[in-house]
Amino acid sequence: MGQAVLKTGTMGAKVVALPTMQAEVVALPAVASRPLQERFSPWLRSVLVNVLPPLVTVALMLLFWEIAASGPQSSLPPPSKIWTEAKDLIVEPFFWAGSQDIGLGWRILVSLQRVAIGFSLAAVVGILLGALVGQSVWAMRGLDPVFQVLRTVPPLAWLPLSLAAFRDSQPSAIFVIFITAIWPVIINTAVGIRNIPQDYRNVAQVLRLNQIEFFFKVMVPSAAPYIFTGLRIGVGLSWLAIVAAEMLTGGVGIGFFIWDAWNSSRLSDIIVALVYIGVVGFVLDKLVAFIGSVVTRGTIVN
């Protein structure tokens, strides 16, 4: 009897399966388009899939902007006007026509140099302090509340103080970068080090690794994914801070360029500079992420 029930069950299943066969027939046109897909290499396909949508978005944005800003009493320039007014800035990032009339590429490089110094200092000091806070309960109790308060201070609020301390705009700007980028590095490193599995610590203890060996051979590699999260947030924040700091300190740099352009009502130049800043910030973020993925290659899959 049980068998009979089973048979009806199977037959019922067959009937249900019928619509699937119909669906296969419908799918035939898709098969016809296959040779077209095969002509593109998979690499080209993935580039198209990833690059085309943002290009379309940008094109649409420019179009709407053009329409919205082309009225006679519009206060902002449309893209076409920017192109005619600031063409030299767009097409020639590295021209040099006197000490104040230089391409945006040069200005970006000056800003990047400041970020590089400030951010490197923040990375080194931040990882060391984070290691201390993550490793020692007393260091955490003593330092963590102070860090939690200080990290909420906006970057620019440090600027007057650092100008007073350093009496020069260059080190002041670097200090602002440093103090902006260091908090996420400290906090993420500390979390990463607190999360080092007890097993790794036991291994280190059995091997009698000393503090320095433990730091380089276990701590840093184990906490690397966390450290790089902190570095990535840090580099983003420092790029945000440098523009603001340079607006106030003056000299050469992309931030000061924007302020200068505003004072002489060159709106088109400002917009071009904004695009530069955005692109460079994006590249910086991707760069740190890339280094992180290379360095932590063994750690992500445990």
């Binding site: 091997l207 009698r208 690794l209 590699p221 184990s222 063994g298 899959v301």
Partner: protein, 265 residues
């Protein structure tokens, strides 16, 4: 009579959490000879891992002492290498580098670089892992990881090799393979080994003596069973062996008759 090789002398262990004190181990006494293979068996939570950590020096004792060749054990060290239950290989290092980390630390001052390289490869070959020396832990199976863990332990040339449920996380077939490997290594090198396990067959197959722990809290050593089986031991021949069956029965009776695990695990 000369001094014992390893002496666990009236060891107590209490854990203090706030105002509450839990006594885990109570008055543990055990003497282990050089070259002996001793298993410690007991229900989960009876403190057998704590005992191993005390011998390793990873956990301090509350009272009593552990003496290795008449010297008190107070901190971890490579002369008491540990093979951890979950292998504990560093995932960012290759198989070779994991063993090299230990070898370079222990023999960095006494052996030349080529000597150390040969020693690393020798130990990897001992556990049949020489072929995978450039792989990372994530790329090899659980059994292979444990083999590397054993190679790392052996490579330190420890006076005692401590094995903390070394095969607990492995499937039955892999486990049997590794047990055979351990028996071969023990036969050829004559290491002193202490193994924590909850597997009765494994304990009888591998050990010279089986230390049976009572249930915690305040676990004690309930009985110590001598396993008088000839070596080398063959898994298949032992199945019908009278001594083997008797030993197995003794351990099972201890665990499930006299010291049944009362609490729900």
């Amino acid at each position: 009579m000369s001094a014992p090789y390893l002496k666990i002398d009236h060891v107590d262990k209490r854990f203090q959490r706030g105002s509450a004190t839990t006594e885990v181990l109570k008055d543990i006494n055990l003497v282990i000879d050089k070259g002996e293979y001793v298993s410690v068996i007991g229900h989960s939570g009876c403190g057998k891992s704590t005992l191993l950590n005390i011998i390793a020096g990873l956990t301090p004792v509350s009272a009593g002492a552990v003496l290795l060749e008449n010297r008190e054990v107070s901190e971890p060290g490579p002369e008491r290498a540990v093979v951890f239950q979950n292998h504990s290989l560093l995932p960012w290092l290759t198989v070779y580098d994991n063993v090299a980390l230990a070898v370079n630390k222990v023999f960095g001052a006494t052996r030349s670089k080529p000597e150390r390289h040969d020693w690393i490869m020798h130990n990897l070959d001992l556990v049949q892992m020489g072929h995978a020396k450039d792989k990372r832990p994530a790329e090899i199976s659980g059994g292979m990881k444990q083999r590397v863990g054993i190679a790392r332990g052996l490579a330190m040339e420890p006076k005692i090799l401590l094995l903390d449920e070394p095969f607990g996380a492995l499937d039955a077939l892999t486990r049997a393979h590794l047990q055979d490997s351990i028996m071969q290594i023990h036969a050829s090198l004559g290491n002193t080994m202490i193994m924590i396990t909850h597997d009765v067959d494994e304990a009888v197959l591998l050990s010279d003596r089986i230390v049976m722990m009572t249930n915690g809290p305040s676990a004690r050593i309930g009985e110590v069973l001598d396993v008088r089986l000839e070596r080398p031991r063959k898994r298949l021949e032992l199945v019908a062996d009278r001594t083997y069956i008797a030993c197995r029965e003794a351990v099972l009776k201890f665990l499930y008759e006299r010291h049944r695990f009362v609490e729900a695990a």
